[in-house]
Subunit: 200 residues, 2 copies
C-alpha cells in the first residue's frame, strides 16, 4: 500500500475544508494516499493557549476576506457559515464510527460533512443532520446515531486528538508525511514539492 | 506618483523579512511602490491577546522548519536567530529618523537591518549595532544615535503602530492596498494577482 499523508483537521476549520478539497488529488499525483484524522481543535487549544480565529480581535475581521480570496483562487465553493465555529464532537465521532464500520465511505463522509457546513450552512453539530448526510451515502442513519454514542468511538476520538497533540499538531489543517509536517492550506504546494522531490 | 503598497512589519518578524525580500520586485511589476511601515508588534499583541510564535507551545517547534522551507522556496538567505524575538523599538525609531532625514535611504535601511538580524545574527536591539549599519549606508552614525532619541521619532513610531492597529493590522507582514489587506509572506501571490487583475 502507498505511503500516507496524515491529514489532521477539525470539521469546523475553513482552511481544513479548503485543503480537503485538494489534498486527494495532490496525494494521487505524488503516489500517496490520504489518511483522514479529524480531531477536536478545542482540546489542542487547551494545550497551546490559542483560540479560534473568530475569537481573536482584528483577526476575526480579516479572516472572511482571506477565505473568500483563497476559495476563489482554487475555484472551491465556500460560504462563510453564520454559526462559526461550532462543536464538532458529533461529526468527529461519526467519522471514527464510519471508519470502523463502513471504511469505504470514509472520504465521502469527510467531504459530505465539510461541504454541508461550508457550502450549505447546515448545523453539523446536530447528530440528526449528520445522520441525514450519512443516510444519503447509503449508510443506515439509525445505526449511525447509535454508533456515535459507543464507548469505542468516544475513545477513538479522544485518542486521535491526544495523538495529534503528541505529534505536534497545533492547528487545522496540519499534514504529516513521516516526521515532516506542514501547517495550513497554503502549504499544500510545499508538501507536493516535498513528496515529488524527496526533500528540498 | 504610483500607488503604494503599505507594508507593515516588525523588524523581528522572520516572515516579514522573507516578504521584504520580494515585495519591491512584486510592486514594480504591478506599477506600485512600497511604503515601509515598521511597527512594534508587542503593542499589537496587547490589542489582540496574541503572542510571538516562539512563545506558543507546539508552534515554537514547527516554525523553524517552516521558515527553512519558505526561505529555500524563494532562494532567500535565512539563518534562524539564536536570540528570537528581540526588542525592535530602536530599529523602528531608526527607520522613522532615516525616513525624515535621509528618505532616499529608507529601503536600504530596512534591508540592512533585517539582513543583519536574519542572515548575520546581529543584535539589532543594540543602537550601536544599528549605528554601524547606518554608517555603512553613508549616514553619520552619531547623528543617527542622537536622532533616534528625539521626541519626534518616538512620536512617529508610536503613531505608526497606533495607525496600524486602527487599520486592522494584527501580525507581520501585513500589506494594504487601499482598503484591501493581505496577511503573511504566503499572500504575496494573491496580492500580486489582486493588483494585476483589479480584483478577483
Amino acid at each position: 500500500m502507498s505511503e500516507s499523508i496524515d491529514f489532521y483537521f477539525d470539521f469546523s476549520s475553513p482552511y481544513g475544508y479548503l485543503a480537503s478539497e485538494r489534498i486527494e488529488h495532490l496525494a494521487e499525483q505524488c503516489a500517496h494516499r490520504v489518511r483522514w484524522r479529524p480531531i477536536l481543535l478545542g482540546a489542542v487549544f487547551k494545550k497551546t493557549g490559542e483560540r479560534p480565529l473568530a475569537s481573536i480581535p482584528l483577526v476575526d475581521a480579516y479572516t472572511p476576506y482571506d477565505l473568500a480570496r483563497c476559495s476563489r483562487e482554487h475555484a472551491i465553493d465556500y460560504q462563510h457559515p453564520t454559526r462559526f465555529p461550532l462543536a464538532t464532537v458529533a461529526a468527529c465521532r461519526g467519522y471514527y464510527w464510519i471508519q470502523a464500520q463502513h471504511p469505504d465511505h470514509d472520504s465521502a463522509y469527510v467531504h459530505s460533512v465539510l461541504r454541508a457546513y461550508f457550502c450549505d450552512g447546515l448545523a453539523i453539530d446536530d447528530a440528526a443532520v449528520l445522520a441525514d448526510l450519512v443516510q444519503s451515502l447509503g449508510v443506515p442513519s439509525d445505526e449511525f446515531l447509535t454508533g456515535i454514542q459507543s464507548n469505542a468511538v468516544r475513545t477513538d476520538t479522544r485518542r486521535a486528538t491526544d495523538e495529534a497533540i503528541e505529534r505536534g499538531v497545533f492547528g487545522s489543517p496540519m499534514m504529516y508525511v513521516g516526521d515532516q509536517c506542514f501547517f495550513g492550506n497554503d502549504r499544500l504546494e510545499q508538501l507536493s514539492h516535498w513528496l515529488t522531490s524527496g526533500g528540498w
